[in-house]
Subunit: 340 residues, 2 copies
C-alpha cells in the first residue's frame, strides 16, 4: 500500500505542495481556511511526512547511533536508559547496535551509521577498552569521528583526541580497596576482567596502589583475571578456594563476577561476608536484590548515559566541548563485606 505524500494532500486540497509544507512546519502564515482544509486532509489520511526526504535537505536525521558490546549485561541498558532520557529533550531517537564483542561488527555498524547519516555516535565497549588496539581499528574510528560527532564512553583510543565521557575507575577501585582495608583485610584477591583491556588494568593498578599505600604485599597468585561473566567469577573463586592459602576478601572487576564469586563461595560452605568479603563494581540494579546484597562501586550508569548525550549535543551544536568528562564513582556499602 503506497504511502501518501504531500502531493496527494496538495492535490486534494487544491493548493501547492509548498502550502502543505507550510502548515506542516508552521514556517509561514497560511490563511485559516486553507489551513483548516489541509489539516482535515492530513487527519483523514493520517499523513506523516517522510522523514528521509526531509533529512535529505536538512542534513539531520534525529537519530543517534549507539554501539554497545553486550546488552545482556545490565550495566548497558542502564546507560542506554540514561541516554534516552536525556535525548527526550532534543527529540533524538536511537539506532542501537549490539556487537557481542566483535570488532568486525563494530566496523560494520560504524559504516551503517555513517550511511544512515546519524546525527551522532556513542561508542561503548569493544575496541575502545583495548590496552593495545590495532592502528587500523583506531584510525577507522577517528575517520568516522571526523565526519560525525562521536563520543567514547568509558574507554579511550591511544594517540587520539576523541571526546570521552568516563567514570573514574581508578578512584572507584581505590574506594573499594580502602573500604576492605579499613575493615581489617590485608589478604585480598582480585577476580575477573581480561588483562588486555584497560578497564582491567586500570583497576589492577588501583588494586596494587591501595595495597602498596598500606605496605601490604601484593600476592600475585591471588590476581585472577579471566573475563567479565558470572561464570568467570565462579571459576576464579573456585581457583582461589583451592589454594593452600586464601584471601579473606576479594575485589571483583564487576558485579557479574562478584555474584559468581559469592555463589561459589557459598557452595563451598563459606559464609559471605563472615568468612570472606566480596566487593563488586558497577552497581547493577540486581546488586541490591542479591543475597547477600552486594557491596559495590556505583558507576552511575544512568548519569553516564545522560552525560554522553549532553556532550554529543554540544558537539552537534558546534559548541566547544571538553575532551574529557569524568564522573566520580561512589562506594555503596551493603552486605557482602564485613570486618575481619
Amino acid at each position: 500500500m503506497r504511502q501518501i505524500t504531500i502531493y496527494d494532500i496538495a492535490k486534494e486540497a487544491k493548493v501547492s505542495v509548498a502550502t502543505v509544507s507550510r502548515v506542516l512546519n508552521g514556517t509561514a502564515p497560511v490563511k485559516a481556511s486553507t489551513r483548516a482544509k489541509i489539516e482535515a486532509l492530513i487527519q483523514k489520511y493520517q499523513f506523516q511526512p517522510n522523514a528521509m526526504a526531509r533529512s535529505l535537505l536538512s542534513k539531520e536525521t534525529g537519530i543517534i547511533g549507539v554501539i554497545v558490546p553486550d546488552l545482556t549485561n545490565p550495566f548497558f541498558p542502564e546507560v542506554f536508559a540514561g541516554a534516552e532520557q536525556e535525548a527526550q529533550e532534543s527529540g533524538h531517537t536511537f539506532l542501537l547496535c549490539n556487537t557481542m564483542g566483535s570488532y568486525a561488527k563494530e566496523s560494520e555498524y560504524l559504516n551503517i551509521m555513517q550511511e544512515k547519516r546519524v546525527d551522532g555516535i556513542v561508542f561503548i565497549g569493544g575496541r575502545i577498552n583495548l590496552k593495545d588496539c590495532e592502528p587500523e581499528l583506531v584510525q577507522e574510528v577517528v575517520e568516522h569521528a571526523n565526519k560525525i560527532p562521536l563520543v567514547l564512553v568509558n574507554g579511550n583510543l591511544k594517540n587520539t583526541e576523541l571526546t570521552r565521557v568516563v567514570t573514574d575507575e581508578y578512584t572507584g577501585t581505590l574506594l573499594a580497596m580502602r573500604h576492605l582495608i579499613e575493615l581489617g583485610h590485608t589478604q585480598i584477591g582480585f577476580i575477573g576482567g581480561e588483562s588486555h583491556m584497560t578497564t582491567t588494568s586500570i583497576k589492577l593498578r588501583a588494586f596494587r596502589k591501595a595495597l602498596r599505600d598500606e605496605g601490604i604485599p601484593v600476592r600475585e597468585e591471588w590476581i585472577l583475571p579471566d573475563s567479565f561473566s558470572v561464570d568467570s567469577g565462579r571459576q576464579m573463586m573456585q581457583k582461589l578456594l583451592d589454594m593452600k592459602e586464601q584471601p579473606t576478601a576479594v575485589c571483583c572487576v564487576n558485579d557479574f563476577t562478584a555474584i559468581g564469586a559469592i555463589k561459589t563461595a557459598v557452595e563451598n560452605g563459606l559464609k559471605v561476608p563472615d568468612d570472606i568479603s566480596i566487593v563488586g563494581f558497577d552497581d547493577i540494579p540486581l546488586a541490591h536484590h542479591v543475597i547477600p546484597e552486594l557491596t559495590t562501586v556505583s558507576q552511575q550508569a544512568n548519569e553516564l548515559g545522560r552525560m554522553a548525550i549532553k556532550v554529543l549535543r554540544q558537539m552537534m551544536n558546534k559548541g566547544k566541548t571538553k575532551k574529557l568528562t569524568a564522573l566520580e564513582p561512589q562506594l555503596v556499602v551493603r552486605q557482602s563485606t564485613a570486618r575481619l
Copy 2:
C-alpha cells in the same frame, strides 16, 4: 564538514554519476580501468553513499523499529538480542524505543517510526498487554499496521487481526503449578503482576485451573498481584508471611518478583526451598546465578525475538503469514522448589 557525494566522485573521476552508482551497486558492467579509478576515489574519501537518498527511491530503510516497555528488565534485552541475531541475515538494524510504560510514548514512537519509514515494527509490552485497552489506542496501532508490517510480541489487541508471536503463558504457568503440586504442595500463593494486564490474568487463570484440576481449593487471600518489580515481590511476600496461615509454595508472575520473594523469605528466617518453594517465570540469565538458583519457566526470550523477526520478514516480503505463532515455554527445575 560537508559529506561528499556521488557527484564529487563522478567529477573527480571524470565520469557520470550513473557510472559511480554502477560500481557502488554492481548493477551493470563497468570497464575495469574506470572502475579502478572510481574505487580509488571512494577509498580516498572514505565515501559512503547516503542511505536516505537511496531509501527515498527504494522505499526501504533497512531499519526495524522495536518498542519495549523497559530495557532494564533483562527479559527484553534477551528478546532484542534474538531479534538482532536473526536480523543479521537480512542486514536490518534497529531503532530501539523504550517507553517506560507510557502509552503516550508508545504513540510518539509509533509516529516517529512511521515518519522514518521503518521496514517493520516489533511491539512488546505496554498497551498490548492490557485486558481492556482503550479503542483509540487499539485503533492507532491498527492504522500503523496497515501501513507498515507490525508484529505484536507476547501481547494482543482485542478485535484486531494483528500478527502475533507469543509464548504460551497459560501452559507455562500450568507447568509451574503442576511441578509444585507434584512436589506435594497444596497451599500455594500467587505473587506479582498487575491485574489489568493480560499476562497476569492468563497466568492467574492457569493458576486457578491447576488447583481446580486437583480439587485443591483456591485461597483468594493468597493471590497478591501488585507489579512486576523485585520490590513488588518483596512486599507481597512480606504480606503473605504476615498472615496467620501461610502457603508452602508461591508461584510468581516473573523472575524479578520471585527474586524479591526469595529475598524477603530469607530475611524472615525461612529457608528456600526447605520452608517454602518459589517458582518464577521468564528464566532471565540471572535466574541460575541467584542463591538458591531459581526454578522457573523459560519463555525462550531469545527465540521469541528471532521468531518476531522471521515473521516480520515474511510480512515484508508479502509472503503469507500465520496470524499467530506460539512458542512452547519450558519448565526449568533448579533449586528454589522442593518436596513438601
